[in-house]
């Protein structure tokens, strides 16, 4: 008898390819099959008419509501008001200014995001320190011969981005200081920081905005009047810095004690220890948390409509009430939702990417 090793047989045809995939992922047993059919039925019966409404039956070109005849979505409405959605009531001749500010912002962000570009530190510092000043003079004007544009004319996506960028840039350093204060050995510093953080975190942003708009003027001497936008920005920054502080505290707590001890053993002072050893590690650990706070802040900027600022959502609300375009509110909500969604989703994806890239592999997280 001669034994011969037979070649391994290929898996049965029902286990590989499309059929195999379907069997494994969709029809694995009776429960799963029923679930697939039920969910699939609902998805199809919902998605098909929606896609038809958004893309196939929709109208895109025209100047008035008469162009919307095909029964689908009326994107003519959005197209006609696009300028307002983007710039609010900013004078049309000056639109190049928010555009320029936006291009610089996007350019530097792309510079920071791309892996190959050099001098990232410099660009980041410029973006955090110099850019806000440039952007302010670009948007507000009254310098270098630029005509002044009052802040109550700012609106739309421009205002949303102003609120978000200022909120982010201002709340990060304040949050770091608060987090360090909360970890401090000095009892008074610690209790002041804890009180500050707990109070701001325990109340809704709306009440903070109300406070900024009705109470802040009372706090300052007579005749010192504050711009409404500035008041909202102060409220948002204070609110957000409390959240930021808690995220950073989490990062500080995650740094092994040995790191602090090693820094002490080297004879580093408090600030050297924090800036050179602890903070870089803590901030890296906390990237997901910080980006989550940014995303929350970005979405929360829509609340300023309650105190009468015209961010992109408020512009949409106003457009929906235009008698010429009544009945197309779904279109404007969808458009604004898409704007917010693109920003938030890309931020969250980028943070996941960074998290993976920066994970240096020590520790078992």
């Amino acid at each position: 008898m001669k034994y011969e090793i037979q070649p391994t047989l290929p898996p049965p045809s029902s286990m590989i390819g499309v059929v195999g995939w379907l069997r494994k992922n969709l029809f694995d047993g009776p429960y799963n099959s029923v679930a697939t059919i039920v969910v699939g039925y609902f998805l199809i019966s919902f998605l098909v008419p929606t896609i038809q409404w958004i893309f196939i039956d929709s109208d895109w070109i025209g100047t008035s509501r008469d162009a919307c005849t095909s029964g689908g979505a009326c994107w003519v409405f959005i197209a006609n008001r696009l300028d307002q959605f983007l710039y609010g009531f900013y004078p049309e001749a000056e639109h190049w200014r928010p555009q320029l500010a936006f291009i610089i912002l996007i350019g530097s962000i792309i510079w920071l995001v791309l892996p190959q570009t050099p001098k990232k530190g410099l660009v980041a510092t410029l973006l955090l320190v110099v850019y806000p000043i440039i952007a302010y003079f670009l948007l507000y004007g009254d310098l270098f011969g630029l005509p002044q544009v009052e802040t109550h004319l700012w609106g739309g996506l421009t205002l949303t981005l102003v609120l978000a960028v200022v909120g982010i840039v201002a709340s990060l350093p304040l949050g770091i200081v608060l987090a360090l204060g909360r970890q401090s050995d000095m009892p008074i510093v610690k209790s002041v920081c804890v009180t500050f953080i707990e109070i701001w975190r325990g109340v809704p942003l709306i009440t903070v905005l109300f406070m900024a708009s009705v109470m802040l003027p009372l706090f300052f001497p007579e005749g010192m009047s504050f711009d409404k936008l500035l008041r909202a920005l102060i409220g948002i920054t204070l609110f957000q810095s409390a959240y930021m502080a808690e995220v950073i505290r989490g990062g500080l707590q995650a740094i092994p004690k040995g790191q602090y001890e090693a820094a002490d053993a080297l004879g580093l002072g408090y600030w050297q220890k924090m800036i050179l050893i602890i903070m870089p590690q803590a901030l890296k650990l906390m990237i997901p948390g910080i980006v989550n706070t940014f995303i929350a802040l970005f979405k929360d900027t829509s609340l300023v409509l309650i105190i009468g600022l015209f961010d992109v959502l408020a512009i949409g609300q106003a457009a929906n009430q235009d008698p010429d375009w009544i009945g197309y509110s779904t279109e404007s909500y969808l458009f604004i939702a898409l704007l917010f969604w693109v920003f938030c989703f890309s931020m969250s994806r980028y943070s996941q990417h960074l998290e993976k890239k920066l994970h240096t592999g020590h520790g078992n997280r």
Partner: protein, 404 residues
């Protein structure tokens, strides 16, 4: 060589050695921190002093009064929905109470719905079924990246406001849905309904006793008892039987179309429905991610061990995975509950009469007492936050892993 030079009785430290350089005042950490704290206190004191002085001057110049006397004055405005008796003749203090109760109502309703929806979605995202997992992922990515306020507006203005007028209401099971809200028949208890209520509570007590007895028995003998099924049977069955045998002691107040609106029944205002939908759908997407993280935190060996013991998938999930996942899930879940409660304040944007709308809105505008009103509103949310986290911390400590 063990001398340290600091031992008082060591005697090895030479008496006539030159004294150690006394550190400069600003190099002594203790004194420096003391100075720093004194400076901070002084700065804070100065800021608060200036603010209070400015506020007092400003209030005086505008002729505004301070104090809480306004709470007992007559409010003189109506509120669309109130859980307690409220008329225009009620006081501003009552408007506070009405708003507070409405806030609590929407928070409880929202937490309830968001928890159920969030758990289903969180488990579904980890399902073996590709379609279900992807559907859940899509839901989460869509809804948590869109501002809540926009979602509230969408449900309110684009969906509920475009429903037909009362005359063309959608009708189902004696209820009516139109742009004024959902109008349902109101239950009116008649004689003998008290018996049903008693039966209901008795069934709850009985279920609790059975659960205790069965846990003891399982610890002693290892035999299991179908506690959940029995409890459901008791809690539904006992009141139902009593209800049937005592001659259906429950009338229904059917809503009727009179003129342009409905009379009778219970009306759920569209603002409440829109807010409830938006809050639950939005928060559920965050809860789902929390639940998913919790389930993933349970080591896969646990599932494998359960499978090796021959437990079914459903039983593994219910008895092995979820209880362990809860430990990871509870703290972030608490934050989500708090967020939902605080987010319910967005009600003011569509006019649901919650605390912020009724009190920090109308009452503030009418009385002008900004400081008192905002302080009371903030105090309510702070208290709710602290209470919720206190309760959840207690629960968290109770189910914490006890290592032996």
């Amino acid at each position: 060589m063990s001398n340290s030079g600091h031992k008082p009785d060591g005697g090895s430290a030479p008496q006539n050695a030159p004294p150690l350089n006394k550190p400069k005042f600003w190099n002594d950490p203790k004194k420096r921190s003391l100075l720093f704290q004194v400076l901070l206190l002084a700065a804070l004191g100065f800021v608060f002093y200036t603010i209070i002085q400015n506020t007092l001057t400003n209030l005086e110049q505008r002729g505004m009064t301070t104090g809480f006397d306004f709470l007992s004055r007559e409010a003189g405005f109506g509120i669309a929905m109130s859980l307690i008796d409220y008329t225009e003749a009620s006081s501003y203090g009552m408007t506070f109470l009405v708003g507070l109760l409405n806030t609590i109502l929407i928070a409880v309703m929202g937490i309830f719905a968001a928890t159920i929806l969030g758990f289903i979605l969180g488990v579904a995202r980890l399902s073996d079924n590709w379609l279900i997992a992807k559907f859940s992922a899509l839901y989460i990515e869509v809804f948590r990246n869109i501002p809540l306020l926009l979602q509230i507006f969408f449900w309110y203005y684009a969906v509920l406001r475009t429903l037909p007028t009362p005359r063309q209401s959608l009708e189902f099971f004696g209820s009516f849905l139109n742009n004024r809200g959902l109008i349902m028949p109101a239950p009116v208890p008649e004689d003998g309904f008290g018996l049903v209520t008693i039966g209901f509570f008795a069934a709850i007590v009985a279920s609790w006793l059975i659960a205790r007895w069965s846990r003891k028995r399982q610890e002693l003998t290892g035999q299991q008892f179908p506690v959940i099924l029995t409890s459901i049977g008791l809690i539904i069955g006992v009141p139902l039987l009593l209800f049937l045998f005592s001659g259906l002691p429950l009338g229904l107040d059917h809503p009727e179309l009179k003129g342009f609106n409905f009379k009778g029944g219970i009306t759920v205002i569209p603002e409440l429905i829109a807010l409830w939908l938006a809050l639950s759908i939005y928060t559920a997407s965050f809860i789902a991610e929390t639940v998913r993280a919790g389930i993933l935190a349970v080591s896969h060996g646990q599932t494998e061990a359960a499978t090796a013991l021959g437990m079914s998938k459903a039983k593994t999930l219910r008895l092995i995975v979820v209880p362990q996942a809860m430990r990871v899930v509870i703290p972030p879940l608490t934050s989500q509950y708090l967020n939902l409660t605080k987010n319910s304040s967005l009600a003011t944007a569509i006019g649901y009469p919650d605390l912020v709308n009724v009190f920090a809105g109308t009452t503030l505008n009418q009385t002008g007492q900004a400081i008192e009103v905002i302080a009371m509103t903030m105090a309510v949310y702070l208290t709710l936050s602290l209470l919720t986290s206190f309760f959840m911390n207690w629960y968290n400590a109770r189910i914490q892993l006890t290592e032996r």
